[in-house]
Amino acid sequence: MRTRFAVLLCALLLATGVQAAGTGVAFVHGTGKQTDALNDYWKREFVDSVRQGLPNSSNYTVINCDFEQFMWTSGAAGCLAGQLHGFITSKNLDDVVVITHSNGGNVMRWILSNPTWDSRYPTIINATRWVNALAPSSLGTPLAEAVTQGNVFEQSLGWLLGYASDAVRMQQPSWMAYYNANYLLGTSGRPSLPKGFWNVVGTDVETAVWDGDSYCGGYTLNLGLEITQAWLDSCSDGFLECSSQTGAGQTWFYDTSRMNGREPLSHNQSRRKCFGLDVILRNDL
């Protein structure tokens, strides 16, 4: 369903500079500072497969920003806004499907929830058809809390375990609860987002050595996820609980209901060409 952008204010039309129709797709990575997300985060085969669903397969962009920062900063949402706005205006697009992974969903949801933060945001929001949020970190994850826990009881300056970036601190469940209640839309009891936010939910991690499916997305990556799953509910992708992945917007589908062979998608597999995910996203364009 196409959503038209329209302004009606005392017969004054708001000139946006977006006049020609065009469909595009944008890939928004998760936590981390990316400079080559196409090859490092998503893998080219995945992006190339998905974009074949476009009328013009060159109308795609792969975002590279610093999502180690808090979502509202110029390096995170500001960077995302700049690249999306440039993509939309340079190609005259008015129908963009934004595909996010993990914390990328939070940064995109920041833009959707705070349209007055930046004059570029309304253009982005109006050009967005919907967001396909792959394993979004909408309610955070207990793992973020686990890696930022300090020592037991000290009056002096607490020290931190690990390399807890601002983005990791932000994804602690109690932090995301605050931001969801005060700055983000789309969670239960809050106003809905201005555009659809459709969740693809990963429900399990399979690490059987004899099962070739475990190797899609990298076997070593999956083994670590099986440990981290112990911190999480029984329904999780090894990094995010299902409840977090469905915490905002609406659920499009759970992995086993649509993946080839009813395979689950671990947190790494949900950003890779595994079990037909790319085909589903391609057909959605």
Partner: protein, 411 residues
């Protein structure tokens, strides 16, 4: 459902119809500011210095849920942390478990030299027997495997999960290979996913003002712990501890940790945290639990004045300038939900409106706009109410004002 975002040009309205605007007094449930104090003179980061005004609105369904639940987050914990050293680990430490299948994580403290640990380095003692770890663990993840999860574990961290057959109670853990690094600090995290003993911690609010008391309610599922079994402290966004929580039991039996007076706000971005530690007697022995929960603490940098400019109302839409007092220059945003009246008198949501602009210190206005098309397409009309009104300082990332019912608009 179609969602059309209208971008309004402030100040461009045609023939207007004056209407009455009544300010509705805040209630005890609202977050308000009576008077603004000068902000600290020290420079603080501004996250948004954009000068362009932006106002948007979009229609919402009449049956849209608009609860704006501000129920504070309830933290739950089945885990705890122990401070130790490499020397103590080499000699052997005791871990207290309350259920089978504990997950144990060893992490060198920041700055400590990281030793590369392998499962072969570990010895587990359960009851009177010692086991090579490989005999009694279900899964072992080394530093590389944990790092690859993207969960930012510290360098040198390893984690393993005990087989259920090891049981529960006091578990011995020895790491012989750490003997040479005796002084290095380590943290042991014990997480018990199968335990029924759960520590709860809930802040009384999700936002506090400097100088106000911070109260954290604690509870313990599965064991009867007393106030004396709890300790805790509050930390600022920069990690600095700002004071201890004093725990006591109220007349209703609920246990609260109190910091009588929150300190000065921090200019560091992020949230404050209350850290709670429980050490008491469970049904089958000692039980340890750590939990923490986050909240905001900020000095208000602006407030609603309760005044408005002239309401512009015509077929083109409505525009309401909302009066703001700013303690310092910044980009301020007002957002609200417009409720309209149905034929039976019921008020239902019609549209969401957001507007932001740069204000200098002193009084100013931020104008909310809703298009005539949105108003005309709604099944509900005048009189309207602006509800769930919020004022934010976008420059300083502060939520300043939340008022459930703010203005009534009567033609």
């Amino acid at each position: 459902m179609k969602k059309t975002l209208f971008l309004a040009l402030l100040g461009t309205t045609c023939a207007v119809t004056a209407a009455e605007v009544r300010y509705l007094a805040p209630t005890g449930k609202d977050l308000t500011v009576e008077a603004l104090a000068p902000l600290p003179k020290r420079a603080e980061p501004l996250f948004n210095e954009a000068r362009e005004p932006v106002a948007v609105s979009w229609a919402v369904e009449a049956d849209a849920v608009m609860a704006f639940d501000q129920t504070p987050f309830r933290a739950e914990s089945r885990q705890y942390y122990l401070d130790t050293t490499a020397g103590e680990l080499a000699a052997g430490i005791e871990i207290f478990t309350t259920a089978p299948g504990a997950l144990i994580r060893l992490s060198p403290a920041a700055g400590a030299k990281q030793a590369s640990l392998d499962v072969a380095d570990l010895t587990i003692k359960a009851g009177d027997r010692e086991y090579a770890a490989a005999e009694v663990i279900r899964t072992f993840a080394d530093e590389a495997a944990l790092k690859a999860t993207g969960a930012s574990f510290a360098r040198g961290t390893v984690a393993f999960r005990l087989l259920d057959s090891v049981g529960e109670g006091v578990i011995g853990l020895r790491v012989d290979s750490l003997a040479k690094a005796a002084g290095a600090r380590y943290v042991v995290n014990v997480h018990e996913p199968e335990s029924n003993l759960v520590l709860h911690a809930t802040a009384s609010r999700d936002s506090y003002r400097p100088g106000t008391p911070i109260a954290i309610e604690v509870g313990f599922q599965g064991a009867e712990l007393q106030a004396s079994d709890f300790r805790g402290y509050v930390s600022a966004p920069d990690g600095r501890s700002v004071g201890d929580l004093r725990f006591s039991t109220g007349p209703d039996g609920r246990i609260f940790g109190l910091l009588p007076r929150a300190g000065a706000a921090s200019s560091a971005p992020g949230l404050w945290e209350a850290h709670v530690f429980a050490d008491g007697d469970g049904p089958d022995g000692r039980v340890l639990r750590d939990a923490r929960t986050a909240f905001a603490l900020a000095q208000p940098s602006g407030r609603l004045t309760g005044q408005t400019g002239e309401l512009a109302w015509s077929d083109a839409g409505l525009e309401l300038p909302v009066g703001i007092e700013a303690a310092a220059a910044g980009r301020f945003e007002v957002r609200a939900v417009l409720f309209g009246t149905l034929a039976d008198g019921q008020l239902v949501p019609v549209a969401v409106a957001h507007a932001a602009t740069w204000l200098e210190a002193g009084t100013g206005e931020v104008s909310l706009s809703i298009s005539g098309a949105t108003l005309a397409s709604a099944g509900a009309g005048a009189p309207y109410e602006l509800r769930h009104l919020e004022l934010r300082d976008q420059s300083r990332m502060r939520s300043l004002w939340r008022q459930e019912r703010a203005f009534r608009l009567v033609p």
